[in-house]
Symmetry: C2
Subunit: 184 residues, 2 copies
DNA sequence: AGCCGCATGTAACTTGTTACATGATTTC
DNA sequence: GAAATCATGTAACAAGTTACATGCGGCT
């Protein structure tokens, strides 16, 4: 049920459609949750049926209409309960690491290529996260931001985790590329 | 199908039963994949039906018999194909981060407690990983180990990723505990 | 003319989770 | 005497993935 809670959390920041959420789940929410558009549409339907959110159709010119959603009191209550519950330990599942573990002499070049591609993806994510960090800090130091106890404190902290994660990915990819002999 | 590949990778290191794998998936494999015993038993059955592994019943005194599995040529071939395939990008799903994102003034104490518990879990994992690292290095420096191009190179590299991940968890938990006001 | 972005959805399928069941032995 | 460990499994359910479908508007 945590996809549901991730959606509830996202909807505390405003009124969004399934499509909007799909984009958000690719950028800001990406630090801590992922979902495909299909998962979101399905879950929004169910949440609507369960009375956690209300829908509104926004008519648009030159574009398809959208259905945007807002939290109800029941939705807020459900999120409140979730936030104080015991979280499940995270499940890491990384195909690339399985490949590295099972790597043999012949497969080194292919694995090396995969690691090089991951390096690029992580660097790109890191740049986007750093941009958002700059935006949240708005010129303040981290320490100052944290003591000012802004309404975005939670977002900043999750973003900090995302940044550290991608920095580690970059460092690890570099370690692997150094350790694996290049192909001739 | 990556659970299947993670199992194939584990079976390259020896002959294991479902129960053995469940334990391994809690320690060494935990860096890059997780699975419950039930998932393992089901997947092992299917892999057996598909001819990727062969089973052998080991009679034991004073303990229930076990069914251990070994890779077949077909199993090795399937793993070989997987290792050179394009890996799926990883999906992060961390309930605790959803909670931090959705945190409100009233829920701070509960979230703080969850973070404190995560800190302890990460520190414990880190200690186990560091022990295994010491064992793999066997007195050598990392640089020396990497150039010697040991057969455990892959395991070392995935372990390095796991260690970095838990170190970041510890640092992040400490940041959050410092940033969130303690309860009275 | 063809692709990309916007916007929502159905259907089939694969994975992952949870609860339950069994029964002997070892440890506190 | 109770709990933990060893060892395997069934069944029901929840969550996640993949493929397909629709149709307009803007860009190259």
């Amino acid at each position: 049920m945590a996809l549901r809670d991730a959606i509830l959390a996202a909807l505390t920041k405003g009124e969004y459609s399934g499509y909007d959420l799909a984009k958000a789940f690719d950028v800001t929410v990406a630090n801590f949750w992922t979902a495909t558009p299909q998962q979101l549409y399905r879950e929004l339907d169910r949440m609507h049926q369960d009375g956690l959110i209300v829908a509104r159709t926004v008519e648009q010119e030159k574009r398809p209409n959208k259905r945007t959603y807002t939290l109800t009191a029941a939705g807020r209550a459900a999120l409140g309960e979730f936030v104080v519950s015991t979280p499940k330990p995270i499940a890491i599942r990384d195909e690339l690491l399985v490949q590295v573990e099972a790597m043999t002499a012949e497969s080194v070049p292919a694995v090396r290529d995969s690691v090089a591609r991951k390096l690029e993806v992580s660097q790109a994510k890191l740049r986007r996260y750093e941009d958002r960090r700059e935006y949240l800090l708005a010129g303040r130091t981290e320490h100052r931001f944290l003591v000012e106890a802004d309404e975005n404190l939670g977002s900043y902290l999750t973003l900090a985790r995302g940044i550290a994660f991608e920095q580690e990915n970059v460092r690890w990819c570099e370690l692997v590329l150094d350790a694996l002999p290049e192909r001739d």
